[in-house]
């Protein structure tokens, strides 16, 4: 038996004899093994409703039905099919109605359909089910130009067939990119292209945010916007590992890797590309004092304000300009009293400054805030 026969569909034609109130079945078992056709494998993933690793498979088989009641047995070996997910429907030919679906004792790998055919003849059936063991990962290769302003972005789906089932000439649809028709045997892994974009606009950012990145260094990202302006935006980018290279004079230099998070159309992805050695930020507290002190009748402090001044010293040792974003976090109820450069309150507890530095430029600024109504 070839492995194509792993999923065996058996048609049992029944002559039913009614004896009193009891229906006895005189069985004539015709074992037909119709060829599976038009196999489609839709991989599970984001927004498909089934988890990753679970694929929805559908296949068609042409079968000759008797007029009236027919019995179809589907048995499989070694394939992780969820029996509850099995669906049977007629695509064309003699229509049929599924009267009952039965699960026999002792076998988790068999299902029996009782179907009622409106007329005898050929019928194209579609059988669909969910199948475990079709895992897939995504890998991106991003190659940036020397200026780090443009890049090529190629995405591949790597699909592993551990399902126990062989597929010949199946249409494999990862849900991203174009489906590909090919054979896919148990134990194999294959790669399918899901994205190929050239001249993608990227923005390299420099951010100082010790609280968020757990480092005193300035961190660098490539920001990619999934939109038409960036030469992307056709569909969401599924989560995957991204390897990042810089193309310098025709040779690629690997500069790091990061996870590219799921990015819907119009949203941006951020890839971490390391810490900047040539840009430094030093944050120091210049002043801290209690003001507006309120005391109770026992002369104990019950409320006070706290004024603080912070200084940031930023140095760009590169021979290129750099735009550095400096992020600070302040809890509670506060007000800015003075900032030497423009700031943005991005949320109730976050202040952002953006500093554009020329090559080899050093810059300093302070901000002065008051935190109000603190309790001792």
């Amino acid at each position: 038996m070839t492995r194509e026969l792993r999923m065996l569909l058996r048609l049992v034609v029944i002559a039913a004899a009614i004896v009193g109130a009891t229906t006895a079945f005189a069985r004539v078992e015709l074992v037909v093994v119709p060829q599976r056709e038009n196999v489609r494998i839709k991989l599970g993933g984001p927004n498909t409703g089934v988890g990753e690793g679970v694929a929805t498979v559908q296949e068609e088989r042409v079968i000759t039905l008797d007029n009236g009641r027919n019995r179809l047995d589907l048995a499989w070996v070694g394939a992780a099919i969820d029996p509850a997910s099995l669906r049977l429907e007629a695509v064309e030919g003699a229509g049929l109605e599924v009267v009952a679906m039965s699960f026999p004792p002792g076998s988790a790998n068999t299902v029996r359909w009782d179907v009622e055919a409106a007329k005898a003849g050929q019928c194209r059936l579609r059988i669909s089910y969910t199948l475990r063991g079709l895992n897939w990962t995504r890998e991106y290769t991003l190659v940036a130009n020397e200026d780090e302003t443009r890049a090529s972005l190629v995405g591949m789906a790597k699909i592993f067939n551990q399902s126990g089932e062989d597929f010949t000439d199946a249409l494999i649809d990862p849900g991203f990119g174009e489906p590909v028709e090919r054979s896919f045997m148990n134990g194999e892994s294959i790669e399918l292209p899901i994205l190929s974009a050239a001249d993608v606009r990227i923005e390299k950012t420099f951010v100082y945010d010790p609280a968020k990145y757990d480092t005193d260094q300035v961190v660098m990202h490539y920001v990619i916007r999934n939109d038409a302006e960036s030469n992307l935006g056709k569909e969401p980018l599924p989560r995957g590992a991204a390897r990042i290279f810089i193309n310098k004079g025709g040779s690629r230099t690997f500069v790091g890797e990061d996870w590219l998070a799921y990015t819907p159309v119009g949203k941006q992805a951020r890839l971490y590309v390391g810490a900047a050695r040539d840009i430094t930020v030093e944050r120091t507290q210049q002043m801290r004092k209690q003001t507006n002190i309120r005391r109770d009748v026992m002369d104990r402090i019950v409320l006070y304000d706290l004024e603080e001044i912070y200084q940031f010293e930023v140095k760009n040792h590169r021979d290129k300009p750099a735009k550095v974003k400096i992020v600070d976090h302040v809890d509670g109820y506060w007000e800015m009293l003075e900032a030497q450069i423009q700031y943005k309150k991005t949320d109730a507890a976050t202040i952002e400054f953006v500093l554009a530095l020329q090559p080899q430029q050093e810059s300093k600024f302070i901000y002065h805030i008051v935190r109000r109504n603190l309790s001792p």
Binding site: G20, A21, T22, G49, P104, R126, A348
Partner: protein, 480 residues
Amino acid sequence: MRNLVIVLLGLASLLFSLSPVPAQRAAGAVELTTVSERQEVEMVIYAAQDLTHIADRRLMELSKGINRVQFDWADTQIDPTSVRLRAVDGKGGLTVKNILFPADRPNALVWLIDSAAAGKRLLEVSYFTKGLSWEPCYQAIITPEGDRMSLKGFLRITNRSGEDYPNARISLVVGDLHLITDQILQEQAALGRPVGVLKAEMKEMEKALAEAPRPGAPPPSAGAKRKAAGMGGMAEPAEAVAVAGAGGVSEHFVYELGHRETIEDGWSRQLLSFHAWPVTFELVYKYSDGKHPTVYVKFKNDEEHKLGRAPLAEGPLSIFQRAEGGGLNAIANATMPHTAVGDEAEIPIQTDINVVVEKKMTDYKKFRFEFDPDKRPSGYEEERSFRIEITNTNDRDINLEVTQRFEGVWSIESPQKHEKKSANEVQWKLTVPAGQKSVIEYTVTTKFGTRIKAQGQPADAAQAKPEPEAKIPVRGGEDK
């Protein structure tokens, strides 16, 4: 497995087993002569408990005088305290004189029946058994356009009782029963073995069960059929539709299969219970926190939605969408909530990661302090401003309900239209067009301590409801 054996002992020995073929095991030293045909089996399967009531009707040739009928239930899950025998042909002259539990035969009993005349009688053996169960399950296929669906309901019946039940009339009951079967068995086990004497409670239960498949106000067709069966006559041949009727008994709901069904031991059988098409539905997005809203399918269990014939019992629901090319794409494995006729089913199906929500607190103030005579803080207010930005990257509009919860004594201001849903909830309803962004902004002010009773502040006085003082997180403050 065919383990139930009923034997008529005596001169004209007659055996019938509960299966249409001869019993696999001979009943001891008893002489076996004929296998009788079953006239009818009725099953009432309860969803909430592992309990099924079986009524098995047989024609038996009885002699005038005392007849001995043996019932043997080895390797089944029959509750021995529940086994009953009665004549159901409406003719009198039959008395169960005695019930014996033979010392040498476990799982067997013998009825001594006094028959006034010789002849064929229609007898019913009834009992409770474990091992049969049913659950509803559903399949929805949404059109490629995504506005309507085909909804199929199935009843999946599983037989692990140890006994085959061919051509049975089956009723399925939704709802809980109060049962003391285990206590009865325990009590009787302590006495050595089960006895055939009825406890008052068992009588009541049996009465309830006997009435269960005879709904008070069933649909006409089902009612008529039930009546015929209840009168002791033979049931008419059933039509080929799956579920004939559905009705209620007390607080219980009963589904009746409109045809006979064979459920062999070990098998699970999934039968179509209804097919509703086209069911219009709404897709509603709901958000309260996190990065993405959850998508709900909403429809009413009523005639307008091609439903409304019966409550939808809770069960697994597979949702597919018909692809343009004809195939099916899995959308979700969800759960149909129990939905009474006329009620709305609201089914969470998935988180839509193509709708991105960014919620942040944009401002915070703790102020408007008040002090007690000792100059300690006795009350204050907190003001929090939030911004919720929703980006719909899908190529279709979405209807979104944003619900935010607030504790304590609070008031809210928002430039977007909103509604107080309860003492703790505010809801915004909006449509986010395809590929667009919508923003909700609000400021919520919460009062603490003596500020709750403060006058002349821009608070929503109608809403403000003083909270117990214990909830006020003012440290060292002497409130009042």
